[in-house]
């Protein structure tokens, strides 16, 4: 019979010696988050991880690999299977001065925890007039493109960008993944941290530094004709599109938003003032997605600079479709270029 695991003994900080990232290394995005978590846990003993299967298994994407061995079950907590409780106990831990990092196994499983996020995590600081801080990070692998079953490919970020009191981050590469998970954990405000799961394996150089503040958007490719705005998995698709367009004589400025709430409008506005044309692309459904919000705001702020109506290239207003149809739902290089054509008045 199975030996039942009990939590009463709580093995402490023993096991292996920590080996943090100390020099530039080529890492996959998943591994970069792992290193960021490790550094955050070394920096602050109040950082604890909670989630389903994050211990011995290291999470279904292995993002927490080896952290149980290094930091012990007091700090890397395999929880019972209940998202509301994962978030709700994190609230209690935060109340006691901890900095909990929750892993939600897949995007579609965040909803049982939605009430605790929206009515508690987001509101505590406001409710208590600043007396109680909620330095909670909620990590969410998100987005499609991996041929997965239902609820495993969703892009729920807009629910959170509409929720006052939360910060929302989406990373697109290994370096940002490393730097921004550390910044998110260090933030005294709650942060939803979205990880584009189909890019977990993509490698990049990682410098063990915090880098630019997480609320800053980054121009990942400068250009003059069109501003192409995106985040998460589509950043690399957008860069490919810019490259392809360049060959056809269109100069696209690609912006990686990084922070979805607040949006770094300084960078976006400056770009649109220059190009006069804006395309926003994301995987989430169009209606109520982040694209509409950004377009409305940019239209308000840059109306006289706009040469054409901003264009959206997004997932359709459908539940995430079955794997064999996802290539039709997800914006790809061609659909982005089609959007660029539209904003350029070529179609």
């Amino acid at each position: 019979m199975t030996t039942l695991m009990t939590h009463t003994s709580l093995p402490g900080l023993d096991a292996q010696k920590p080996v943090p990232l100390t020099e530039t290394k080529t890492l996959s995005m998943g591994k970069a988050i792992n290193e960021g978590l490790r550094q955050a846990m070394l920096d602050d003993p109040k950082v604890v991880l909670l989630g389903e299967d994050i211990g011995a298994l290291g999470g279904v994407f292995r993002v927490t690999s080896d952290l149980l061995a290094q930091f012990g079950a007091r700090r890397v907590i395999d929880t019972p299977l209940a998202e509301s409780a994962i978030i709700g106990t994190a609230v209690g831990l935060a109340y006691r001065g901890y900095r909990p990092v929750c892993e939600i196994q897949f995007d579609g499983f965040i909803f049982p925890g939605f009430d605790q996020i929206v009515s508690q995590v987001a509101k505590f600081h406001y409710r208590t007039q600043g007396a109680v801080r909620m330095p909670i990070t909620i990590r969410v692998p998100f987005g499609g493109g991996i041929g997965a079953a239902e609820h495993h490919s969703e892009s729920p970020e807009a629910y959170f960008t509409h929720t006052s009191g939360l910060r929302v981050i989406a990373v697109s590469n290994a370096q940002d993944a490393y730097s921004l998970i550390r910044q998110a954990i260090a933030s005294d405000d709650p942060v939803l941290y979205f990880e584009p799961k189909r890019r977990y394996h993509v490698k990049g150089e990682v410098v063990p530094e915090l880098g630019a503040p997480m609320e800053q958007a980054v121009i990942v490719r400068p250009g003059t004709d069109v501003t192409l705005l995106t985040y998460g998995a589509l950043v690399s698709t957008a860069k490919d599109a810019a490259l392809a367009a360049f060959d056809e004589g269109v100069s696209i400025e690609v912006i990686d938003l990084r922070s979805l709430s607040p949006v770094d409008y300084a960078v976006v506005e400056a770009s649109v003032r220059k190009t006069g044309r804006l395309v926003v692309t994301h995987e989430a459904a169009q209606s109520g997605g982040l694209g509409g919000e950004i377009i409305a705001t940019i239209t308000e702020r840059c109306f006289s600079y706009l040469e054409a109506a901003p264009v959206r290239v997004t997932g359709f207003d459908v539940p995430y479709p079955p794997a064999k149809l996802e290539s039709h739902h997800l914006p790809d290089l061609d659909r982005i270029l089609d959007g660029v054509d539209r904003v350029m008045g070529r179609r």
Binding site: I77, G88, V91, Y95, R96, Q120, R127, V263
Partner: protein, 365 residues
């Protein structure tokens, strides 16, 4: 050995007689006349405050008030069992607990006057402010207890909730987590027989205290109108938690003698005979009887106690009415702990808008 099986534990009869019960008595043998009188004073004061707050609501000074009338013993008995470093996660009805915790009376009504979403700094009294989402706070208590466990301190989290709350997923998940991690947390359920208009039978076909053992959490079912039994049970549960014994569930069987809130009208759903019957079990009445038989209640004591209660009510009223309105632009404060460009722009725009009026918006809606 404590018997954790369900029969109702009573140490003080309706007639005010101390009912011996060996397994519980040792937990309350410090309760001499003076101590009992202090509990009585607390209960009288909180009832007086409760009445005053209801009156303030009727007079338009409070937007709403959730009376605790009838639940004084459950709240005072448990609150007075706590150590100052134990942490409380209440629902919205634990005004007596807040009083016992030393929360300023004005701060108690601040939230019901609509001046703020919470009335005090939780860390100054180790008590969270009211949580309105039913059951949510039970998870916070469990999380806090996980923290205490990691900090290797022997402080305990206690969470208050109602009979209705036991139906919520969160409360059940809190029991799962508390049991799994053997967290030092006390689940204190005031079964006041009603969740707004729904009798407890809608929520549960068995005693509420029967639920927890299936989760691996021992439970006690006590007469919640018996302040001595409440204190004994809470001390037992706290001691278990402090000494690594894990969570305990307490069902305090009591009665909501008033409306759900001042916005409620119980005559629509409740038999007056039920209220009449519960009046005979009034928690103050029976302690008064015991104190009288102990010779602790004299006319002087009676008058002095009433004076304290009246003074508290006067303080509450003055504090409530004298509370300054919040500044208009404070609507933008504390959404985040660090500046947020989008929000700062909204604040600046609105400040400009107010200035353009040379006055505040008249708020016509």
């Amino acid at each position: 050995m404590i018997d954790f099986s369900p029969p109702l534990v009573q140490l003080l009869s309706i007639d005010g007689e101390r009912m011996p019960r060996p397994d519980f008595d040792s937990w309350v043998d410090d309760l001499d006349g003076t101590a009992l009188l202090a509990l009585y004073r607390d209960m009288l004061v909180v009832r007086r405050i409760d009445t005053e707050a209801t009156a303030l609501q009727r007079q338009g000074e409070l937007g709403l008030w959730p009376p605790l009338l009838g639940q004084e013993a459950a709240q005072v008995g448990s609150a007075r069992a706590l150590r100052s470093d134990d942490f409380i996660f209440p629902s919205y009805r634990e005004n007596a607990v807040a009083y016992c915790r030393g929360v300023n009376l004005t701060d108690i009504v601040k939230v019901w006057r609509g001046n703020a979403q919470s009335g005090w700094d939780p860390y100054t009294v180790n008590m969270a402010t009211p949580n309105i989402i039913i059951g949510a706070q039970t998870l916070h208590a469990t999380g806090w207890a996980l923290g205490a466990q990691r900090d290797e301190i022997d402080a305990v989290a206690i969470t208050y909730f109602g009979d209705g709350a036991t139906s919520q997923g969160d409360v059940n998940e809190a029991m799962v987590f508390a049991a799994s991690f053997q967290a030092p947390v006390v689940f204190f359920c005031q079964n006041n027989q009603w969740a707004i208009s729904e009798p407890v039978g809608v929520q549960a076909h068995r005693n509420i205290a029967d639920r927890a053992p299936g989760f691996g959490i021992p439970s006690l079912r006590i007469d919640g109108n018996d302040v001595i039994a409440v204190m004994a049970a809470t001390r037992i549960a706290l001691d278990r938690a402090r000494t690594g014994g894990g969570p305990t569930f307490i069902e305090a069987v009591t009665y909501r003698m008033g409306p759900h809130t001042t916005a409620d009208d119980p005559t629509r759903y409740r038999d007056p005979a039920e209220l009449a019957e519960w009046k005979t079990r009034d928690p103050l009445l029976r302690l008064h009887r015991l104190l009288t038989s102990l010779g602790e209640i004299t006319p002087e004591v009676e008058a002095a106690t009433q004076a304290i209660a009246d003074a508290a009510a006067a303080e509450l009223r003055a504090g409530c009415i004298g509370m300054p309105d919040p500044e208009p632009l404070s609507v933008f404060d504390h959404v985040y702990s660090t500046p947020n460009a989008t929000l700062e722009r909204q604040r600046a725009d609105y400040a400009g808008y107010l200035t353009s009026f040379g006055t505040q918006s008249n708020g016509t809606v």
